[in-house]
């Protein structure tokens, strides 16, 4: 137990001092890591704990991003207000999808969610008057609040904003997954019939898991949109959803801090591959992905836990 507190504290300190130690473009990359981590944490809740697959969380990232962009463009709403709205909208959509998911399992659920991932980009392109069509929406770039502007750069501000929100969402997930909700989710995952026999309501908890994880994906999307100051349909295609899935599996499906590792992996692996060999970058990336899964079949976090368990 102590070990966990020490590691968490060390990690928190590292996150806080990091932007003062690295160049500002890297701060930018780590802001992305933070946003991806939030989305992947949602998948840890959904896939890892409730056992329901989603190949479509990129769609919620898109809705989160577009909610912020549309509210800013049409109503001039600042992101302090639109961010929670994005979370709420995605949460409700997630609950709706969860209701559909109640009837489907395994590969059938995978296809239903994949359909969402595949449909989001054509839908965004089609309803131009709201979404700006293929061009997307450019937003005026946001700035750090005036009180902080002389202490830190915009990059640093967004970094702290993202990781601050991530910290709150981690705390919520920790509280939820280590209590009644988490136990119920895992009971349903391991055997739905047995869970029902013990009085767990699968309809409630399975839809809750979908809504919860979709809200996280929405927050991630909103943050990405604010940081990039731009949303466009092609960013949110099938590859994004599959990348998030790769992130959660590479990190470690049912470990919360695996989400951080997954976030780092999906942000930095492509950049690293680009550096290794620009002409063959996707080959390097693909092979690295395969190698990680071959040597750490239950994810990087899972492998680290095994090493720790073996040493203690």
């Amino acid at each position: 137990m102590n070990f966990r507190i020490i590691v968490t504290a060390l990690f928190a300190v590292l996150v806080i001092v990091l932007p003062w130690l690295i160049p500002s473009f890297l701060t930018f990359e780590f802001t992305y890591v933070g946003a991806y981590t939030i989305a992947i944490l949602g998948l840890v809740i959904l896939i890892g704990n409730s056992g329901q697959i989603s190949l479509g969380h990129g769609a919620f990232v898109a809705v989160g991003g577009y909610t912020v962009a549309v509210l800013l463009q049409n109503l001039g709403l600042p992101y302090g207000f639109s961010l929670p709205i994005a979370a709420l909208v995605c949460g409700l959509l997630g609950i709706a999808l969860g209701a559909v998911a109640l009837r489907l399992e395994s590969v059938y659920l995978a296809l239903a969610t994949f359909a969402l991932a595949a449909s989001v980009s054509p839908l965004l392109k089609r309803f131009k008057h709201l979404t700006g069509g293929v061009q997307g929406i450019s937003m005026p770039s946001a700035h750090a609040p005036p009180a902080l502007a002389h202490v830190m750069s915009n990059e640093t501000w967004f970094y702290y904003l993202t990781w601050g929100i991530a910290a709150v969402l981690f705390a919520l997930a920790f509280k939820g997954l280590h209590g009644r909700v988490g136990r119920s989710l895992r009971a349903i995952r391991d055997s739905e019939i047995a869970a029902i026999a013990f009085g767990v309501n699968p309809v409630l908890y399975k839809t809750l898991a979908f809504g919860w994880s979709a809200a996280y994906a929405g927050v991630a999307g909103a943050l990405l949109a604010i940081v990039t100051a731009y949303v466009s349909p092609d960013v949110y295609g099938i590859p994004l959803s599959l990348t998030l899935l790769a992130g959660v599996v590479m990190g470690g499906l049912d470990l919360m801090w695996g989400a951080v590792i997954g976030g780092i992996a999906i942000e930095f692996l492509p950049l690293w591959a680009q550096r290794v060999n620009p002409a063959l970058s996707s080959v390097v990336y693909g092979l690295a992905e395969i190698a990680i899964m071959m040597f750490m079949p239950i994810g990087i976090a899972g492998a680290l836990m095994r090493i720790k368990a073996a040493r203690l």
Partner: protein, 293 residues
């Protein structure tokens, strides 16, 4: 009426490509419970190999034959080297490996052959064929014929040969199959080889229409996945019916419903599939499995 007939036939032609790719997905799913997301890229890669043969002056049918042999051996090798080490891992881990393969093949093809779109000769004559006063494209009819022929051969292999029996046994009862002397792990490799051959055939069939480039199969694999699941992921017949249904539905939706046009074909088709799945949660030809505690 004449136009409708033409739309239906062209829908059946694209549908039979979806059907073949869906069958390839089903072949692998049955043996290891995993959707092989790299199936489309493997088909694309083998189509490039066929194109390379033809660039060296090999006649088209011979080029295709050589390609199929390479597709089979290559996929068996791939299964032995890349998939076998993760055979016992959770299904999602294997899925991520296939995603890695997808990226790798796409990058490799781009690196070797470039991203410039290439024309691919059609093995079929270009003059339309008249049936009952309506002209149908020979390409469409040829694609339908070849795909259905392939599917029939696969069906005969599985239902009428000892090898097919072993393949089915290995996927349904791995432990028991091992007891009677079937080499289950090799059956998986064989499944990959067969799936790759089916994929290669559909790649060569569709390349004259969509042209040859590293991203040519990405749209198709999405529909193939949908077709396989719509039919019932365990069922080869379902994959074929699902593929043909999807092809015809897309053609008719695109041609006759103005609001949908080409943009919204994909979302609408997927919407329909989800509604079907709500009523038949295991696909058209699948069976819902009973669970016990």
């Amino acid at each position: 009426m004449q136009e409708l007939a033409q739309q239906v036939v062209s829908g059946l032609a694209t549908g039979s490509i979806f059907a073949s790719m869906a069958l390839a997905l089903v072949l692998i799913y049955r043996s290891m419970n995993v959707i092989n997301f790299a199936q489309g890229e493997m088909a694309m890669f083998t189509t490039f190999i066929a194109w390379q043969f033809m660039q060296h002056g090999v006649p088209i049918w011979l080029a295709v034959l050589l390609t199929l042999i390479i597709a089979f051996l290559g996929a068996v090798l791939l299964e032995r080297v890349i998939i076998r080490p993760v055979e016992g891992a959770p299904p999602l881990t294997i899925v991520i490996v296939t995603l890695g393969l997808l990226t790798t093949f796409n990058g490799l093809a781009g690196w070797i052959w470039g991203y410039v779109v290439k024309a691919f000769p059609s093995p079929f004559p270009s003059t339309p064929i008249q049936i009952g006063g309506v002209g149908f494209s020979a390409q469409d009819l040829g694609v339908i014929g070849v795909s259905l022929g392939t599917l029939l051969l696969i069906y005969l292999l599985f239902s009428r040969t000892k090898l097919g029996l072993a393949l089915r046994a290995a996927s349904l009862y791995p432990a028991e199959s091992r007891l009677v002397g079937i080499r289950v792990s090799w059956m998986m490799a064989l499944g990959w080889g067969l799936a790759s051959v089916v994929g290669a055939i559909s790649g060569v069939m569709i390349a004259p229409v969509v042209f040859l480039d590293p991203n040519m199969m990405q749209g198709i694999i999405v529909y193939a996945f949908a077709a396989a699941v719509l039919g019932g992921i365990e069922s080869p017949v379902g994959a074929v019916v699902g593929g043909l249904l999807l092809g015809v539905t897309l053609a008719i939706l695109g041609a006759y419903v103005d609001f949908i046009g080409t943009d919204l074909r994909l979302p609408v088709a997927f919407g329909i599939i989800i509604i079907v799945l709500l009523f038949r949660p295991a696909g058209l030809f699948g069976h819902v499995q009973q669970r016990r505690v």
